[in-house]
């Protein structure tokens, strides 16, 4: 594992570069195929409404996959991630308007641990709502 960021170069509060990830209906169809999760709430508006959702929603695991990119792009080696967990608090609603939704992710160093490990606290927002809670990754720095 070869992270490109040195443990000594970060402090608690150090911010990681924030990113915005667009998601459209086409994104969700592609993710369904790649992940094998074909739950119709992620592509069938009629079905989504019938089960009480406002519209089609993104796969929670899609949002989780996007959020960690803030960490893996920063650390350089995705293999440096040793722990990653989230709570799915609110759905990312994806309208069929050609534009879709935006997932905005920011992260900062929440704690410096032993063994060159740091804990990154992530925030993921869509339409002004927090879509992930307790979103934390532990990553081994150089």
């Amino acid at each position: 594992m070869t992270a490109s960021i040195a443990y000594g170069a970060v402090e608690v509060g150090t911010e990681l570069p924030a990113r915005s990830f667009p998601v459209t209906r086409a994104t969700l169809v592609q993710y369904a195929g790649a992940s094998g999760d074909f739950n119709p709430i992620h592509w069938n508006e009629k079905f989504a409404r019938e089960v009480g959702l406002p519209d089609v929603i993104a796969h929670g695991m899609f949002t989780m996959a996007e959020a960690i990119r803030v960490v893996t792009d920063w650390a350089g080696d995705p293999g440096a991630v040793v722990e990653y967990g989230v709570r799915f608090t609110k759905p990312v609603v994806v309208p069929n308007d050609g534009t879709g939704a935006l997932i905005e992710v920011s992260g900062k160093v929440g704690a410096k641990l032993d063994d060159n490990l740091v804990r990154i606290d992530l925030t993921a927002m869509s339409e002004g709502k927090k879509v992930l809670g307790m979103s934390r990754a532990v990553v081994r720095l150089a």
Partner: protein, 150 residues
């Protein structure tokens, strides 16, 4: 209806091996729009110290969730899958999943709770490679929402 607490601690048999292929990793990385070369270029992965391309951190969920199906569909447990939503997800990695891995998953029910009529089941999936090395542990919290009053 409350789920049977006696299922806590139950471990299901390991799944047949899932072989991780380079092109499946590429397909997943493209689907999440991640162009990190470690996912598609063996040389880039090797430069980081990995023997082959590695998978994005959440890739392994496809494998552990399929394994969790043993729990979800266990008729004796009686979880109402049509009402299930994903509550929490966590991974602890010994090493990244990589192309060529043949992975088995052993699922255990870690907890069962009922809160406000919702059934909450915590499932732990231990992922091992062909040599028996522990690769990653996945914890999945599933919430079966309370059925609406008729």
């Amino acid at each position: 209806m409350a789920l049977d607490q006696s299922f806590v601690g139950r471990t299901y048999p390991p799944t047949p091996a899932y072989e991780v292929g380079r092109e499946k990793i590429r397909e997943f990385a493209e689907a999440v729009g991640d162009d990190n070369p470690a996912y598609v270029d063996p040389e880039a992965a090797k430069a980081l110290g990995h023997p082959d391309v590695i998978a994005p951190p959440t890739f392994v969920f496809s494998i552990t969730f399929r394994a969790a199906g043993q729990v979800i569909q266990d008729p004796q447990l009686g979880l109402d899958y049509s009402r299930v939503v994903h509550g929490d997800q966590k991974f602890a990695y010994v090493r990244p999943v990589r192309a060529g891995d043949r992975l088995t998953v052993t699922s255990t029910i870690e907890g069962i709770k009922t809160m406000a009529g919702n059934d909450i089941v915590d499932i732990r999936g231990e992922v091992h490679d062909e040599s028996g090395e522990h690769v990653v542990t996945a914890w999945t919290k599933l919430v079966a929402r309370a059925a609406e009053e008729a």
